[in-house]
């Protein structure tokens, strides 16, 4: 055939062949994506500090282990929160959706934990969360942000900023920045209110009167989910000391199940009612008669 004898013709035909799919699936979508059609009014650009944090996230390659997109699948939404919408990402240059979940998805991380949790976690993740294989990022606390460089970045991206925001960067560390960034993630839309699990019907403790030996088997639930903030022995830390006597079973259940977002207590509804009841019993009754060892 003629193209087998004419390299220039082959090059032209090959270019045409690859451009068809390219134009339809890559060029055309620009007509619909990031337009009025998928915009969300409450989504705001990054502040100077958040942008610096985002750049640290990119520099350290966090996207190699963490995704930032929640799929409209039951397990994804239960585990991470409301599924991601196109309009939430209009200020993301580059996008950071990732491709592997060696660690959990972070698209809805903002507001889940208090800042203090993040400072301790980034310092030594494997020490803070038992069984984690995340590297330590303690060195970020020793590096400060350069406000003038940040100003250049904000200008390049056309993001609005105030002088106060730039001067306020002085003395901020990269740790402050990445935590500010993580606290913004996914919180531009009021999804938490929309998906808060409702407790239906009357609450009945299915483990009322459980003996101490049974509760011992539930200790791992406490250690994995609660100890980081409330201490190994209920002594408190980031969160308050846990005094089993001070709350009713049902109140304790509601606090754990739905969280107290304004106080930094995340909801644990995704654990399921059964595990939450086990934790309620463990917290309320396990240490009674013990000497807080």
């Amino acid at each position: 055939m003629i193209w087998e004898k004419n390299p220039v013709l082959l090059l032209v035909l090959a270019t045409c062949a690859i451009l068809v799919g390219t134009i339809i699936t890559m060029v055309l979508p620009f007509a619909w994506v990031n337009t009025e059609a998928d915009s969300i009014a409450s989504v705001k650009p990054y502040t100077p500090l958040e942008l610096e944090g985002r750049d640290v996230y990119i520099r350290e390659g966090c996207n190699n282990c963490h995704t930032q997109t929640v799929r409209p699948l039951v397990a994804d939404v239960l585990r991470y929160g409301d599924y991601s919408k196109s309009g939430e990402f209009v200020y993301d240059r580059p996008f950071l959706w990732g491709s592997r979940r060696t660690g959990p998805d972070l698209a809805r991380l903002g507001g889940k934990y208090p800042d203090e949790w993040h400072y301790k976690h980034m310092q030594d993740p494997a020490g803070f969360v038992p069984g984690s294989n995340m590297p330590a990022y303690a060195f970020l606390s020793g590096k400060t942000v350069d406000p003038e460089y940040t100003r250049k970045k904000m200008a390049a991206l056309n993001f609005p900023y105030t002088e106060d925001q730039i001067t306020g960067l002085a003395g901020k560390t990269e740790m402050d920045a990445i935590i500010a960034y993580m606290q913004k993630l996914g919180s531009d839309i009021p999804w938490r209110e929309a998906v808060a699990a409702e407790i239906v019907g009357e609450l009945v403790n299915p483990y009322a009167g459980v003996d101490h030996a049974t509760m011992e088997a539930w200790e791992h639930l406490y250690k994995e989910n609660c100890a980081a903030c409330h201490g190994e022995h209920f002594e408190g830390g980031i969160g308050p000391e846990l005094d089993g006597a001070s709350l009713e079973e049902n109140d304790l259940f509601e606090i754990i199940y739905n969280g107290v977002p304004e106080n930094g207590m995340p909801p644990y509804s995704s654990l399921g009612a059964d595990k939450v009841w086990k934790i309620v019993n463990f917290v309320k009754y396990y240490n009674i008669g013990e000497d807080h060892q």
């Binding site: 090959a14 585990r79 240059r93 998805d105």
Partner: protein
């Protein structure tokens, strides 16, 4: 045709350097595999998983993969066009510039200068180096073909030309960015658009770097190794054109269930499944070319590498489309299954074919007999076993991980916390790291065999060395 006319110097140099970068890729791969098992092996800030993983993929794809393709394309283009390279000087500069680019890439990635885009992490100054490199290479190959002395262009040359234009288009579009400083830029595209452009690039880098070049190599070196021509020319034509046409529609199968518009996802899924046909067109063409020659699987170590290579290509192009189906993607995506898939392609298909080509090449360009066929066989079994353990451990890990992620209690709540799922993966990660050591041992045997061939291999008379 007198051998003296051909420029084999450049082929030798690219082979040597690409093998070095390949060794780096495997070594870094083993290190990061152990980092997942034990986080204490991260040495912040330069040697953390997040910075090393792009180094691993870049050294593998661009150092070992592209570097070897440079060598093999320069070898094939001269033989197939029956003429020396269009420009020896340009090729020499390209060699020097290639190594400078790879070193610049390695250093900047460790320093944390990266764009975050998978398989396109290099920041804009290094991006420009890559573009220059590709233009030099493309001009030299194209001009050699234009001024060829053999009128019909063999199948391998079609794949080479498609590679040149394909990589150029993909790389330039995805590289578009606004620089802020020498070390930092922001993507020209935002959010969902950026994701769609990136995976249009990402999946077609698989097409234009990890499919069309090794197919060019396979179509040339299989007949050379067996002494029997390719089974069907017509099938080659159909497979070639349909492959390069269909691939470009499929990028969004990396983005199933994300905010990318549904119709793009559906097209990607449909074309991914259709891609089985052209992929298997080449697989069948390879298998049928072995008609009456299957005894060579025992007698000829080169054939063993090539046929196992095309077999893994066949498996890869069945597994890939299955992952591109929405329902299966919902289950398996983001899990360890995917690295298992990728490593079958990288360690099985691409590397096995490249090993065969280099084994074929080195005796020819050094006028030596291969030092040891026994060691070549040992190399074959080590890399085959290493790769199979790697992929299998990750597939099983992925299935378990995905099952646990999606598992629900009767009351509709999640059965497992994320940390409970993570804890189950450690044994698999450990096995995977060990598989990397086995593969590494195979690569070391390979390098030793080549080194001894050049050093101590029996000299072969020039005439005999170039007859095949």
């Amino acid at each position: 045709m007198e051998k003296a006319e051909y420029n084999y110097d450049i082929v030798r140099s690219f082979v040597n350097w690409s093998i070095l970068w390949g060794l780096v890729a495997v070594l870094v791969g083993v290190l990061i595999a152990f980092q997942l098992v034990n986080p204490d092996l991260n040495f912040a800030p330069f040697l953390t998983y997040g910075r090393l993983r792009p180094l691993h993929t870049n050294a593998g794809i661009f150092g070992w993969g592209i570097g070897t393709f440079f060598a093999l394309f320069y070898y094939m283009v001269q033989r197939l066009c029956r003429r020396p390279l269009w420009s020896d000087g340009l090729a020499k500069f390209q060699l020097w510039f290639f190594n400078a680019t790879i070193i610049a890439a390695a250093v900047t990635l460790l320093l944390g200068y990266n764009s975050s885009k998978e398989y396109h992490e290099l920041e804009w100054p290094v991006d420009i180096m890559v573009v220059i490199l590709w233009v030099i290479f493309s001009v030299n190959i194209t001009m050699t073909i234009v001024k060829r002395k053999e009128e019909p262009m063999y199948i391998s040359l079609w794949y080479m030309l498609a590679t040149l234009v394909g990589v150029a288009v993909l790389y330039l579009v995805n590289a578009a960015a606004v620089p802020v400083s020498l070390f930092k830029s922001y993507s020209a595209f935002a959010g969902t658009n950026d994701a769609n452009v990136q995976w249009w690039f990402g999946h077609n880098a698989v097409a234009m770097v990890l499919t069309t070049p090794p197919l060019a190599v396979f179509y040339y070196f299989l007949p050379k190794s067996t002494g029997v021509p390719i089974y069907s020319h017509r099938l080659s034509i159909i497979a070639f054109w349909s492959l390069i046409f269909m691939y470009l529609w499929t990028g969004a199968h990396h983005l199933l269930w994300t905010p990318v518009p549904d119709w793009i996802q559906t097209l990607a899924m449909a074309f991914s499944v259709m891609l089985i046909a052209p992929s298997w067109g080449s697989v069948f063409n390879g298998y049928l070319s072995m008609k009456g020659q299957w005894h060579q699987m025992r007698d000829n170590y080169l054939v063993k590498f090539l046929i196992l290579g095309i077999t893994f290509y066949g498996l890869q192009t069945l597994q890939g489309p299955s992952q591109a189906v929405r329902s299966f993607s919902a289950f398996i995506h983001y899990s360890e299954w995917v690295p298992g898939h990728v490593h079958m392609g990288a360690m099985g298909w691409v590397s096995l074919v490249l090993f065969a080509a280099i084994y074929y090449l080195v005796p020819k360009i050094y006028d030596r007999k291969l030092y040891s066929i026994g060691l070549a066989n040992l190399h074959f079994w080590l890399v085959l076993i290493g790769q199979l353990i790697n992929s299998l451990s990750m597939w099983v890990a992925g299935l378990q991980q995905a099952s646990m992620w999606h598992s629900l209690n009767p009351d509709g709540s999640l059965t497992y916390t994320f940390m409970e799922t993570l804890a189950e993966i450690y044994p698999y990660w450990f096995v995977r790291a060990l598989s990397g050591i086995i593969y590494l041992a195979g690569v070391v045997v390979f390098i030793y065999n080549l080194y001894m061939t050049v050093r101590r291999g029996k000299e072969v008379p020039v005439a005999a060395a170039q007859t095949t």
